[in-house]
């Protein structure tokens, strides 16, 4: 029994560069250099063992997309980062329950989405009443990856997206913004692929209606 315990705790390090001075002092887990990336199965197992270097790899792999999803759901980068942090804690606590029925990344993104929902429900920020751009300007957002960042249509779209229902908004963001497939979205939101398609259609129809109305108003306002 003791041997079994020792074997589990004293598992080999993720990479040879890792130095573990004291296995019980996790603050001592510091990479001497960037660890070699693990395949997903290895990453999951390492995360299961509570290895912080594995979580760091997870952060580098999926953090950017997690932040992007959270930003579009929360409306500002501060809450988005809080949601990502909350998601990592949930991943850390819930990995024992991950049974591999979906891809690990899909499971992680689902946790981000749920963390955003939870934070919104807790009312940490009234994101629906906040102009996303106004908050974003206070944060060093790198818009280099979005060439049409200040395009009028994009700004109008961002505003219109906030008027969608939560169910429509998340599917629209995951499909059109983040590029997930309907199958992946179905796995994330635990809905069917057909339901994902239907929600996307409804979201885009609503956006068309909102944007058409806005264009009509703009035309009327223009002499």
């Amino acid at each position: 029994m003791t041997a079994l315990f020792v074997e589990n705790v004293w598992s080999p390090p993720l990479a040879t560069e890792m130095r573990v001075e004291n296995p019980h002092d996790r603050s001592a887990l510091t990479p001497a250099s960037a660890p070699a990336p693990l395949p997903e199965a290895g990453l999951v197992e390492a995360c299961r063992r509570g290895r912080l270097d594995a979580f760091e790899q997870l952060f580098h792999l999926h953090g950017p997309k997690m932040k992007s999803i959270a930003l579009n759901l929360m409306g500002n980068p501060h809450d988005a980062e809080d949601a990502v942090q909350e998601a990592f804690l949930k991943v850390y606590r819930g990995l024992a329950g991950f049974q591999g029925q979906s891809a690990f990344s899909t499971w992680v993104y689902r946790i981000v989405v749920n963390a955003c929902y939870d934070m919104r429900r807790r009312g940490l920020r009234q994101v629906d009443t906040v102009e996303p751009q106004a908050e974003a300007e206070e944060h060093p957002l790198d818009r280099a990856s979005a060439p049409a960042a200040n395009h009028p249509l994009r700004l109008a779209l961002e505003k219109s997206v906030t008027q969608l229902s939560e169910a429509q908004r998340v599917v629209f963001l995951l499909y059109e913004v983040e590029g997930f497939s309907h199958a992946e979205i179905g796995a994330m939101l635990q809905i069917s692929e057909g339901a994902s398609k239907n929600r996307l259609f409804e979201a885009k129809r609503e956006l068309r209606r909102l944007l058409t109305a806005e264009r009509g108003t703009a035309r009327k306002a223009t002499p």
């Binding site: 990502v84 850390y92 990856s145 060439p147 779209l157």
Partner: protein, 249 residues
């Protein structure tokens, strides 16, 4: 395929390639549908610009700090695992101990039951009570595990067999006694040392017969005693025959 403005939403929902092509053809001549189709594409294009990325150098250290403050999931998981394994091991040990205890108890019970003297069974005599056929105890059962019916049948068969033996024995004894009566005058006179020896030998044999019969009275089913008794009777018969032959000589 005929497509009208009313089909716009249905076709966009179904996303069928042929219907979309027909809708494109219709939109070429319809300003409203053309605008809607264009807006549909613009939304998708603009949506890609909503993907955000920004540097957040403090985010991972913050997350790491929070994770480090959490109870180690591997420890708790393996703690549970160890508890489960310990329980499993204890359960296995307990099961093995219980099985061993059952074997010991069953073995002890079996040994005790085999060594325990069976309560004597009184057999009603089939003949008028004599010394040989008086009620006696029944031998113990060598196989205790029988149903009551089997036990009754077995005892009945044994009683029948024993009755035949006892009847033959009684007849044999009677014939020997008749022989004894014939030799009695000769032995009582004992006018020769040889006859005196025969008389002494017959007394010893009678004594052995009495002792053997006394033991048989305690266990009628003791075949060994019955064989011994038969041998003694045969010796008595041979001795009496020799006495009578001596008289003839």
């Amino acid at each position: 395929m005929n497509v009208s403005c009313k089909d716009l939403d249905r076709i966009l929902e179904r996303q069928d390639a042929a219907e979309l092509a027909a809708l494109e053809a219709h939109a070429a001549a319809c300003d409203g549908c053309r605008e809607q189709l264009a807006l549909e594409r613009e939304i998708s294009a603009a949506a890609r610009g909503m993907q955000r990325s920004w540097e957040s150098p403090e985010l991972w250290p913050r997350i790491r700090q929070r994770l480090a403050a959490e109870p180690r999931p591997s420890e708790s998981r393996w703690s549970f695992s160890r508890i489960f394994e310990a329980w499993t091991l204890n359960w296995q040990v307990a099961a093995a101990t219980a099985a061993l205890a059952m074997i010991v108890v069953a073995g002890t019970w079996f040994v005790l039951m085999n060594n325990q003297p069976e309560p004597p069974v009184i057999v009603e005599p089939k003949q008028p009570p004599t010394k040989e056929t008086a009620p006696t105890e029944v031998a113990k059962d060598p196989e205790p595990t029988r149903t009551p019916e089997q036990e009754r049948e077995r005892r009945l068969l044994t009683e029948v067999a024993l009755g035949e033996v006892e009847r033959a024995e009684t007849n044999y004894i009677r014939s020997i006694e008749r022989l004894s009566k014939l030799a009695a005058p000769k032995l009582q006179s004992a006018d020769s040392p040889l006859l005196a020896n025969y008389r002494e030998k017959l007394l010893v044999l009678d004594s052995a017969i009495a002792e053997c019969r006394a033991q048989l009275d305690q266990n009628r089913f003791n075949a060994h005693l019955r064989r011994e008794l038969l041998v003694i009777y045969q010796m008595k018969q041979a001795t009496l025959t020799e006495v009578l032959q001596e008289e003839v000589r």
